[in-house]
Each structure stands twice: as C-alpha cells, then as structure tokens.
C-alpha cells in the first residue's frame, strides 16, 4: 500500500512539471491558434541553459531561473518575429498546418544544435541538497522535486493573475476569444501575439530548468515533453491556466498509478490512451470553455 502511495506522490510531483510545460503550450495555442510542436525543444534548451549556468559559473539551478526565464522570454520574442509572425498571417486552417511544419523544422534544428553543443549525453545538475528527503510517515518526499512542484504552481498562479489583471493580459485573453473583435476594439493583436509567444517560451524555459534540476536533460527529451504538454492541453482544455496545471497533476498521477499496476514501460501508454479517450469523448477538455 505504501509503495503505491509513494508512487502516487512521485506522480503528483512530476505532474506539476507536466502542468507547467503545458501552460506555455496552451497559452500559445489558445491565443495564436498555432501548434508549436517544438515546445519540448524549448523546454530542453531551458534545461541546458540552467545546466550551463551551473556547470560553467556554479550558479544554483533555482537561482538560474532568474536568468533562464528572461532569456527564454527574449528568445521567444525573437522566434516570433523570425518565424511565427509569418504563420499568423495565414487564416486559421492554414495556421495549424504551417505551424506544424515550422515546428518540425525548428525541432530538428534545435535538437541537432543541442547535440552539437552539449553532446547526446544525459545531463543533471548535482547540488548539495539533491539527496535531501522529507519523511512523512513511511513516505519519502524528495525535497528538490517538492520545490519544483511549488515553483511550478507559483508560476502558474502568477500567469493566471497576469492574464486576469494586467492590461496586456486582458488583451491577450480578448485576442484568444476572438481576434477580429479584439482588433475592432483597438487591441494591438500583433503585440498580444508576441507577448503570448514570449510568455509561452519563458514558461518552457522555467519548466526546462525545473526538469533538469529534479530529473535530467538530454537533446532527445523534446518530443516526449511536447507530447506530455499536448496531452495535458487536451485533457484540461483551453482557457484556464490553473485547470491546465491540475490536468498536469492528473496525468502525473494516472501515469504513476498505471506504472504501479502494469509495470514501468506502460506509464507512457496509459497517459496517451486517456488522452485519446478524452479527445474523442470531450474534445473541449475537462476544464475547457
């Protein structure tokens, strides 16, 4: 029994990162109707950013967030201007296809770049507190992972507040709802797009840092994280960032439960099966509007 509980706790801990990974994708998809399949590669780059800061300058990986996230925001804005601004000029049907294509090209290039810069090896960031464990009854909770869950939740709440109260947050939401109407009311839709994409990339950077400190990073993790984020986006639906976070935790728990029941390799499959079922039964997601 305690083994199962332990598994479920670990599932919740990784689920928070699934949720954070998905909020960035959900924001971009919801606002721009652009499906960025290179989102996982952006997460991977964020992870290597933290790895570099730790390996070269000895920066603590949690402190690295303060550098990685602004850098990712900037990188996101550059990616938007360089690539995705061409995609949003097309009408909505063509946007999805074009963004898939550009995303694949980008994913391929970023993956190759990462192999070139950091080799294909798996990297982790060891810290003095890496092995610390919090004991609750029979349960052992890794402190680092608990911290990543807390930060992921904090960032999601911050994003939710930003979208609810900030002037441009409201503009982003209005654009997501109906960009033509937003345009008519005088909202600079293009700027809302840049902001949404930059924020999405910034969140990917944060997620990558947290993934690397709690687990590890390698150039090949991109597709896996894109899929996780996609699953969560579909599971939770568009429109609510906290809903997306909860969706991530649900996925983490479901994976852990299935791994405990059927064995490790099947954890991926159960997540995907849930995903397809939700997609077919409730295409708008559990929390979608």
């Amino acid at each position: 029994m305690s083994v199962l509980t332990q598994q479920l706790v670990l599932g919740v801990l990784i689920g928070g990162l699934y949720g954070l990974a998905a909020t960035g994708l959900s924001l971009v998809f919801g606002v721009m109707r652009v499906l960025n399949v290179a989102h996982g590669e952006l997460i991977m780059l964020g992870g290597y950013g933290a790895f570099w800061l730790a390996a070269l300058l000895g920066v603590d990986p949690f402190a690295a967030l303060l550098v990685v996230v602004p850098a990712a925001l900037l990188f996101g804005a550059l990616l938007y201007w360089g690539l995705f601004s061409f995609v949003v000029r097309a009408h909505e049907e063509a946007r999805v296809k074009n963004s898939l294509l550009i995303g694949f090209g980008l994913a391929l290039a970023l993956h190759a770049l990462a192999v070139r810069l950091w080799t294909a090896d798996e990297r982790a960031i060891p810290t003095p507190y890496s092995g610390a464990v919090l004991s609750v009854g029979d349960l052992a909770i890794p402190v680092v992972r608990l911290a990543t869950l807390a930060i992921a939740l904090g960032l999601t709440v911050a994003l939710q507040l930003l979208l609810a109260h900030w002037r441009w947050g409201k503009a982003i939401r209005a654009t997501a709802e109906d960009w033509q109407a937003a345009l008519l009311t005088g909202i600079d839709v293009r700027r809302a797009y840049v902001l949404a994409f930059a924020l999405g990339t910034g969140l990917a950077g944060a997620a990558g840092t947290l993934v690397t400190v709690a687990y590890s990073v390698s150039p090949a993790i991109g597709l896996e994280w894109t899929l996780k984020a996609l699953i969560v986006v579909v599971l939770a639906g568009l429109g609510s960032m906290l809903g997306t976070f909860v969706g991530g935790v649900v996925l983490g728990v479901a994976e852990a439960a299935s791994a405990a029941t059927f064995g490790g390799p099947y954890r991926e499959i159960v997540g995907l099966v849930i995903f397809v079922v939700v997609l077919v039964v409730r295409p708008r997601g559990l929390f979608g509007r």
Binding site: L35, L83, K97, L101, F104, G105, L106, H111, L272
Partner: protein, 311 residues
C-alpha cells in the same frame, strides 16, 4: 489546361521516369546506388500515401507511422513463418487498413489541430506498446540472408511507387477526388452541398493506409535486422509530411519531387556536414515553408509565370 488533365500528364511523366529506373539494374550498378534509389522509391510511396489524406482530403494525419509500422510488423511475422512475401505484404496492408477504418471512425470526429495531435498520440501509443511487447531485435535467419536479392526488393519498390502514383492519379481525376477536395476547401460547405464527408474521409484514409502498409511490408522485407518498434517511429510520419510539403501538397507530382529532393539533400548533407547536417536541414526546411508555402511545384509555376510574361 484543366486540373485533371494536368494530373494525367504528370502521371505519364512520372511513370516514364519510373520505367527508365527499371533499366537501372541492367547496368549492374554498385549496391549502394541501388539502395539509394530504393530509398527514394520507398519515400515516394510513403509521401504519396500521406498526400492522399492531407493533400486531397485536407486532414493532417500525424499517425502515418502507425500504419507503416503495422504493415511492417505483420509482413515480417508472416514472412518469417513461411508465408510468401507478396501475400504477407497484402496481409499487412489489409491489417493496416482495417485498423485505420476502426480508428478513423473515432478520429474523424476531431477537426483540424485536434485531429493532428490525436493521430500523433495514436502513433506513439502503438510505438510504445510494440517497443514494450517486442523489445528484441528482429533478424533474418542466416539461410535467408544468404539468398538475399537486392534487385528483387528494388523492383518491388519500383512497382509500389508506380502503384501509388497511379492510385493518386486515378483519385485526382475522379468524382471521389473532387469530393475530397471539396472537404479540404470547406468541410461544412461540402457537407451542406451533399458530399458524404465522413465516408469520403474514410475512403481517403483507407487508400492512404493501404499504401503505407504496403510500404511498411517492403521495409520489413528489405531490412536484414531492425527493432519492430522502429517501423512505428514518428520519423516515418515527419518524413512523409516534409517530403509532401517540400514538393507541393495536394498535387500528384509534388510528393515525387519532394521525396527525390529530400532524400538526395539529406544524404548529401549527411556526407559533407556530418555534425551539423540536421541543423542545416531543419533550417533549410523552415526556409522552404516560409518562402514557398506551396512547395517546389508552386516555385516552378512562379518561375514559369515570370518567364511567360517576359516572352
């Protein structure tokens, strides 16, 4: 010229090219040349198959690899059990198609991006399952390796490429193809004007997956040893997608040009820029999508238009 006339003319051109390639083994080329052309031919089949669903019926299917993988898996298993390879390939294609029809009935409830990510997940489900159930590498027995004939595989690939081109040409010039294009342009409008959209989408998917299953079967017949999960890898989907879009989606000749350019470019870059070839390749691909959204076919038309105006 009408669209149907253009498709027919291109079909003749492509088939003539394939007929020329039939003479290649007579010149006794090196094995690497035959292997290279084999790869091009397999790619043409895979891309044309994907083009039927995406280019004509307008549905971006990211689960293409699943059907290629099923074809490969079934063919390999039956063939190793002693079933003649052609029969095994047909069985593989039929299995892929049946699976596609079952899946399609549910998946086609999804529209646009949701269809794309739903089918992507489906492919990944199969890849992980197969990788878990059959983790062992599949290698041909020594006796079969001793009797391995590359030329035979080459001609099978040639025949398969020809079949896929003919299939797309017939589809493109038929009422079915017209209905599929109507769905691609505007699904609601097509439905409202009496096009049976679900049935047509299923037909497109069935045709596409039958060809993908055959291509997978050929892959299983061609490779001496491979991991069964490899046939389900997402790269088969992405390759087909990239080749089709580089060439020109929704045209008969586009995927053919795309496949040739894609394979040649990838091999060339891999040979000359070993470390960074995928980086260049990815960047180049993004550039093509941004600058030539209609692919090479559109590029050629644009150049021709400019020349025509001058002349």
């Amino acid at each position: 010229m009408t669209a149907a006339g253009r498709e027919r003319r291109w079909a003749v051109v492509v088939l003539a090219g394939l007929a020329l390639l039939a003479l290649l083994p007579l010149a006794r080329p090196r094995d690497d040349v035959l292997n290279f052309v084999f790869l091009v031919l397999l790619s043409i089949t895979l891309a044309e198959a994907w083009n039927i669903v995406a280019g004509y019926a307008g549905q971006v299917n990211l689960g293409h690899a699943a059907f290629f993988g099923i074809g490969a898996l079934v063919t390999r298993m039956l063939w190793m059990e002693g079933v003649p390879v052609l029969a095994a390939m047909v069985a593989g294609a039929v299995t892929a198609t049946v699976f596609a029809l079952v899946i399609g009935a549910a998946a086609f409830r999804l529209r646009g991006a949701y269809f794309a990510i739903g089918t992507l997940a489906l492919g990944e489900i199969l890849r992980t399952t197969v990788g878990t159930v059959l983790p062992e590498i599949s290698t041909l027995p020594a006796a079969t390796i001793a009797g391995y004939r590359l030329t035979l595989r080459y001609y099978l690939a040639l025949g398969l490429a020809a079949i896929s081109v003919v299939a797309v040409a017939m589809l493109a010039t038929s009422r079915l193809g017209l209905g599929m294009r109507a769905i691609r342009e505007d699904e609601e409008a097509a439905e409202a004007s009496g096009v049976g959209t679900l049935a047509l989408k299923l037909i497109a998917l069935a045709l596409s997956t039958a060809l993908a299953g055959l291509a997978g079967g050929l892959f299983a017949y061609y490779h001496i040893s491979y991991y069964p999960a490899h046939g389900f890898g997402p790269q088969w989907t992405f390759d087909a997608l990239l080749m089709t879009f580089i060439g020109g989606v929704g045209t008969l000749q586009g995927p053919v040009f795309g496949a040739v350019l894609y394979v040649v470019l990838k091999e060339y870059l891999a040979l000359h820029w070993v470390d960074i070839h995928l980086l260049i390749f990815g960047a180049l691909f993004v550039a093509i999508v941004l600058l030539l959204p209609g692919g090479l076919v559109q590029g050629v038309e644009r150049v021709r238009g400019m020349l025509g105006r001058r002349g």
